[in-house]
Amino acid sequence: METKTLTKKQEKKQTTMRISGAEAVIHCLLAEGVDLVYGYPGGAIMPIYDELYKFQDKLHHVLTRHEQGATHAAQGYARVSGKVGVAMATSGPGATNLVTGIADAQIDSTPMVCITGQVASHLLGSDAFQETDIVGISTPVTKWNHQITKASEIPEVIAKAFYIARSGRPGPVLIDITKNAQFEEFDFSYEKCTGIRSYNAKPEIDKSSVQQAAELINSAKKPFIVWGQGIILGQAEEELKQLIEKAGIPAASTILGLSALDSDHELNTGMVGMHGNYGPNVLTNECDVLIALGMRFDDRVTGDLNTYAKQAKVVHFEIDPAEIDKNVKTDVAVLGDVKESLQELMPLINSNKHEAWHEEFKKRYAVEFDKVIKNDIHPEKEGLTMGEVINQVNRASKHEAVIVTDVGQHQMITCRYAKFNKTKSNITSGGLGTMGFALPAAIGAKMGDPDREVVAVIGDGGYQMTIQELGTIFQTGAAVKIVVLNNDFLGMVRQWQQLFFDRRYASTEMVNPDFVKIAEGYHIKAKRVSKREDLEAAVQEMMASKEAYFLEVKVEKEDNVFPMIPTGSSVADIRLS
């Protein structure tokens, strides 16, 4: 370890004890406040599992049915609790199975520490049984990773791992520990990491940039806020609300920012992006000052960059310097923690109303309601729509549930229509678009805040990518509510085939099993609904259940999600049909 880390003296433990590397791992996790880990055992990590057995009253281990499930569960746990999620796996295939979840956590800035076992260090590089270069493989998708070959490295490396995972822009860290390092005994003591000299987690706020931002915001006639997950990660929900209320600025969220502001707040104009709301997308290209808060101008948000908000001055509040001017050229960049920046900004902001400007959003909403929303949530046609199912979930949840979604049409519909009145309630795979995310993530979400209702809404395609995690639900008793919106299609791909590939439905139709029987096979209460008159009662029954519950809703096979910004089009050219 050549990296210079610093630790606070007062946090130093005075005593050292002679223990194995494996036991040290457990003590490190406990010292970091971890009480729950997700994982799957195997040869190279057995010494650590042996210690987990001894420490099971202090550190609970959830056995998922696949290592990918462990990472998504850790992600769901982290996103709901705000804590670092922990996943464990053995070497080789165990480790490679973590990669999808790690990549998902990296692109969605989720704090996660993954611990993998590795073959003994004398076997490294010999193509030993279950040897794989997981540090090499995970490098592009981790915030940091490291291989430990000596037990004495364990405390410092794990301390760094947690510090890096949770500080600044959070992300996943992978620690690979050779089997000999797990067995080896050493004098253990633990010091939390409080800084790394080559890593500036939180850039210092430049007051002059805050001043310039305030001037632009105060002078704006048509200001518009787009906030992202940075608001949630930075715990700046209250500051966001104060800013929009004081300055009278209409605001919209990226998909990952949803739930940071009450869905029904009068200045919440919905969601931006490919399947976002009509008003916020179109008016991005009419506002005069665009204020981006903790978001990264993803291509699914901006559409064609050459026609994105060209008329507007852009103010970007962001903790990651590499995001400034990465996709959209900013006029004022406020680097730093968004909560602190907004606190600095508030006293400089004039009260305002911008009523005529709000009207523009209301007008666009009326158009969208008439052309899209009405038919989605109050359909008159025979087949059930995904939108009406979400509408029933909203009614039953009273907007209080954590909603976990997978990837595809159901995800877009849910993120469009689900109502939230509490932050950290929208858990979805945004950047990576990982099918199979929702079921294990819902397990983690439920364990991250057991008092909250957790509803996983999943398509029939993604559900079958991690369906084995029903076993985890059964074994742990995690009371998650699972809604599968079944259209017997990979719906989003089918929609694109219909719109852009002349209806050539290549490999998108699914012949599905009896999902109710499968759930029942895992002893999970289950029901199927295919008629409108049965929907409300079924959703109510599911929500009232104290245990896990599976509800399959047979929805219209070939419905499309609108509005839609076709790839490469301008936000202004969003299609309503």
Partner: protein, 177 residues
């Protein structure tokens, strides 16, 4: 279209085993070919310095440097145009010893090119030439007709004309904590 030109990317980092992989991945992801790469110690103890030459646009150079700086073990990264740096490369030429005695012209070439003879043995001698790329290429072209047994050229090494306050940055960090 923004014009491509040669940029020298200088990185100060901790001396870490996996960092080269992490940094090269950043170029790979964006299909930016590394023209030359040199890793060495720096003016600060235990701090490594990468000098990487790429041919790209200014906006890509800026974004790549942003991504590099984001890596935990990178202390600071910069990008400079050729005008903003002092840079050199070194080349070694291995040539048959007979030629040194049989071909008088070779001695003149060595003299005029300001290269130096590193070693002479019974079978071969080695010439080292430090300078800019065109000077090395000119020497190569002159020696080639006589037969070059081996040729190799180092990556670019460079120092910037502007200050790079790495020591101050590191000191400040120690003081804060």
């Amino acid at each position: 279209m923004e014009e491509k030109q040669s940029y020298t990317i200088s990185i100060y980092s901790e001396n870490n085993i996996g960092l080269l992989n992490r940094i090269s991945g950043i170029f790979l992801k964006r299909h930016i070919n590394i023209e030359s790469l040199n890793v060495s110690g720096s003016e600060i103890e235990n701090v490594s310095r990468f000098v990487i030459v790429v041919n790209t646009t200014e906006s890509w150079a800026r974004r790549v440097v942003g991504q590099i700086e984001k890596q935990i073990e990178v202390i600071k990264a910069y990008y400079h145009t050729d005008d903003e740096t002092i840079f050199q490369e070194t080349a070694l030429f291995k040539i048959k010893s007979d030629l040194l005695f049989d071909q008088r012209q070779i001695q003149n070439i060595i003299k005029e090119s300001h290269s130096e003879i590193v070693t002479v043995s019974r079978d071969f001698f080695v010439i080292a030439k430090t300078g800019r790329r065109p000077e090395i290429e000119a020497l190569y072209d002159e020696l080639r007709p006589y037969g070059i047994m081996q040729f190799t050229r180092s990556g670019r090494i460079s120092v910037s004309k502007e200050r790079m306050d790495i020591s101050t940055m590191l000191k400040e960090f120690q003081l804060i904590n």
